[in-house]
């Protein structure tokens, strides 16, 4: 029973943190633009995220600190304040993109413009956090998110050529349009490896009062949960590659993205797409807003818990309320959700090392993780991938903005 609940946390984290509007949009554009060739980026991102999520759980279980708690204590207040500002800006943009995702899903189904859905979606997500508790949030979204399996079903029904798919799993250089290739590559990495994910997961571990006995199941949860999300994201890329790429269709709007489920699944595909988009983005909305509220509360030392009434954690509750409300304004004003999504994912990639490098330091510090220190593989993989992502993003983003 306990293992089931922990796997649920993993799957929820996976659905809200792994497969959400960022992963769907970037994987779809990658499939449409480059077929199977960016598969290796998905693999790289998945590996990195499995390491990082497992670390988040291990750190919390052994040190009894959340990631943000440990970061302020180990590196000081100056570090906390300086690094929390870029994180806040990026999280805010990502949150707006997720709200936009739910709003777009509703537009697909009802025909009413996404701008009108911005505030209803914001109020709905806020209510979920205001009245709910962490368990409800985790389990509810995890269960509903299973609808995203539609992407995998669709991909299978389209009969992907196995040889080409496997070839795409190996790193390759772009055939043409190098800027777009690398921009999409870092956007995928930013979508898959999102810092809010680790802040949220480690807070969940502390709220669940994990200890050293949880280390084994944490490892299992991280691998199974994130792999599940990876399979879903891969399904998106494959379906997009098989539906759009042969026809040379560039994905520019979400209505087009929905087509990737309509072709293999017929009319129900449209509703399945809308459902999958809505649920995964809803989960992500909750995770990003909560993650940022946890960061504030843990950085400043406030009370925080979702498992009691909002009035018992006033400042914490107000942070997620303000985040959701203000982010919704962007969507209500008509900012293009797809462009916002891909851009905010690329920005996430830029800020990655700000979180991952201190994280790695903590995971090698016996004062925090005792004898459960990182192996050299984990260290190398995480540091290498995040530095790589950041450097490529720093080059690719300006180029894309100028040319793309």
């Amino acid at each position: 029973m306990r293992r089931y609940l922990e796997v649920a946390l993993g799957i929820f984290t996976s659905i809200g943190g792994f497969l959400e509007v960022g992963a769907i949009a970037t994987a779809a554009q990658a499939g449409a633009g480059f077929g199977f060739r960016l598969g290796w980026v998905l693999v790289l991102g998945t590996v990195c995220v499995i390491f990082l999520v497992e670390m988040s759980g291990r750190l919390s279980a052994v040190s009894k600190h959340t990631l943000q708690d440990a970061m302020r204590e180990r590196f000081g207040a100056g570090f906390f304040l300086v690094t929390t500002i870029p994180g806040l800006i990026v999280d805010w943009l990502v949150l707006a993109a997720e709200i936009g995702g739910v709003a777009l899903a509703l537009q697909l189904v009802t025909g009413i413009g996404y701008q009108w859905w911005a505030f209803p979606v914001a109020i709905g997500s806020w209510l979920f956090l205001w009245k709910g508790n962490l368990r409800l949030v985790e389990d509810g979204v995890a269960l509903l998110g299973l609808v995203a399996l539609a992407f995998v079903v669709a991909a299978v029904r389209l009969h992907p050529p196995v040889h080409a798919v496997v070839a795409g799993l190996l790193p390759s250089l772009p055939p043409a349009e190098g800027t777009t290739y690398w921009f999409l590559a870092v956007s995928i990495l930013g979508a898959l490896i999102s810092p809010y994910l680790f802040f949220f997961y480690s807070s969940g571990a502390i709220e669940g009062q994990w200890d050293e006995n949880h280390i084994g199941s944490n490892r299992f949860t991280a691998i199974v949960g994130m792999s599940f999300g990876a399979v879903l994201a891969f399904g998106v890329m494959l379906a997009a590659a098989l539906v759009f790429h042969p026809r040379g269709i560039q994905v520019e709007r979400y209505e087009q993205v929905a087509l990737m489920l309509v072709e293999p699944l017929g009319r129900p595909g449209l509703y399945l797409f809308a459902a999958a988009l809505a649920v995964t983005c809803f989960g992500a909305t909750l995770e990003v807003a909560l993650g940022r509220a946890y960061v504030f509360a843990q950085g400043f030392g406030w009370n925080y818990t979702l498992n009691s009434l909002p009035k018992n954690s006033a400042r914490f509750s107000l942070v997620y309320t303000a985040m959701i409300g203000s982010a919704a304004v962007l969507i209500a004003l008509g900012v293009d959700p797809l462009a916002l999504t891909v851009f905010s994912m690329a920005l996430t990639a830029v800020t990655l090392p700000l979180v991952t490098i201190p994280f790695i330091v903590l995971m090698n510090d016996p004062a925090y993780v005792g004898e459960y220190r990182n192996g050299w593989i984990g260290n190398a993989a995480v540091v290498g991938i995040s530095l790589l992502a950041s450097l490529i993003a720093l080059v690719a983003i300006p180029l894309q903005l100028m040319g793309g």
């Binding site: 590196f75 207040a77 100056g78 201190p358």
Partner: protein, 103 residues
């Protein structure tokens, strides 16, 4: 006996002035020891001056820098005993004139 207060959190990261105003080091850590019911300062740990240090101290704090193994061996920590440091001006801690932190 006169009593004065100093904020330890502002002392950390301050440059220590040597004889003649020459900058010697930065205070990175304050080591305490128990004495009865209290904790008192035993010594101050410092590291060398440097441009890299300046940047890191301002933004991320020296602890991060020291965590990188090969760098930490280059940053020597030289303990300054409590009575070597003159804190009459807390914004500019000075070594008493007959001492040099490079000892």
């Amino acid at each position: 006996m006169s009593r004065r207060e100093v904020r330890a959190e502002l002392l950390l990261g301050r440059k220590v002035l040597g004889p003649g105003g020459r900058v010697d080091a930065r205070i990175e850590e304050i080591v305490l020891e128990p004495r009865g019911e209290d904790y008192v300062v035993r010594e101050y740990l410092s590291g060398p001056e440097g441009f890299l240090e300046e940047i890191f101290t301002f933004t991320v704090g020296v602890p991060l820098l020291r965590s990188i193994p090969f760098l930490s061996r280059r940053i020597r920590r030289r303990p300054i005993q409590w009575d070597w440091l003159d804190l009459s001006n807390p914004d500019a801690p000075r070594l008493h004139s007959h001492l040099d932190a490079r000892g």
